[in-house]
Symmetry: C2
Subunit: 238 residues, 2 copies
Amino acid sequence: MGSEHTAKAFDTDLQELTRLVAEMGGIAERMIVDSVDALIRRDVTLGQRVVATDAELDTLQKRIEERAVLTIARRQPMAVDLREIVGAMRVATDLERIGDLAKNMGKRVAALETDFHPLKLFRGLEHMTDLVQQQVKSVLDAYAAHDLPAAMAVWKGDEEVDAICTSLFRELLTYMMEDQRNISFCIHLMFCAKNIERIGDHATNIAETVFYMIEGQAITDKRPKGDMTTFATTVPNT
Amino acid sequence: MGSEHTAKAFDTDLQELTRLVAEMGGIAERMIVDSVDALIRRDVTLGQRVVATDAELDTLQKRIEERAVLTIARRQPMAVDLREIVGAMRVATDLERIGDLAKNMGKRVAALETDFHPLKLFRGLEHMTDLVQQQVKSVLDAYAAHDLPAAMAVWKGDEEVDAICTSLFRELLTYMMEDQRNISFCIHLMFCAKNIERIGDHATNIAETVFYMIEGQAITDKRPKGDMTTFATTVPNT
């Protein structure tokens, strides 16, 4: 009876943790979309709302950590149960970082409020954002459903995002070279592109956490890496 | 006797955790210094060494998390003891992120291998790095010594770093406007400056963890925020 009670109490604790992670995931996804929308539509109010929302994610992350630690202390879970708790903590940490990166983009909206605002420069960023948002959504679904193949698809798909980021950097650099009025605008977009790319990295971290939860060990394969943005900015010099 | 045994076992576990955090701290500090040294001296080998070292930090962070979780499950610590364990996990997460940021700078060394390499542009970055490295060192000492006033000094000192970063952005932007050959070089330095600033943010996170460990609650004061880099890039347009 005692251990049955403990098992039931553990399940309740775990459900609550999973619910909190899903709540964080919903907020983080919204922040990604809103921050890029705010940039494109020069919507300073929306940008500020993204900045303000970040505090919710921080609070939720701390609450998840707190509950996870109490669950470990009270229920002393082993093996797969323990990995579920550690997994929830890890995913919460990645979602909190995603929020920070979206917040940074939200802050840039006010800085971009100039008349000079070529919409075509946003296309690459929009495309990247669509891809990354889909990855975040897919990996959170995979986490909730314990779907390892779906998580691994996200893990492998990161290469495409990195490649788009690299080509976007090249394009932005060309605009900067062409006309110095483009410079400050393009720098902001470069930082935003890098933020989106980093959000993609956090999606792959979450995929690795799903692997760890299900397989009981860290993933050992080298992740495909298409990111060449640290080199992209030197190309047009040649 | 039983509880005395548990207390002793807990102390041993905690000492091991603290030792591992100190080990991570030493590696992270070295990575900060080496990455900026590599940039300034165009030392690609040193840059690559920084990139390679990051894996050590990742491994240590996972080991700290694993040991922390086992300690919580086995010893069921309460109150201040529990906060010590959670604190070790949080500091390890920040140090792992610091490593990622230094690694990103290490990667940029190879991209900066051009003949055009104005040393004066590095001065601001060097100054920022000295300050931030000092902050990381001080806050890790404060963590090890449970020195709340020392941690709070780091927490408040972040403003200066942010102000230097903002003025460095303005300076770099001016060079970009002057001569388009400076553009790609200055973009790299901007990303590096932003990385250094973010390392400073992690130092303040660690200061907040020290506060939480000692005071048993989250810090509520608003941290002074001098970072205006998201605005700095628009100024020379006026």
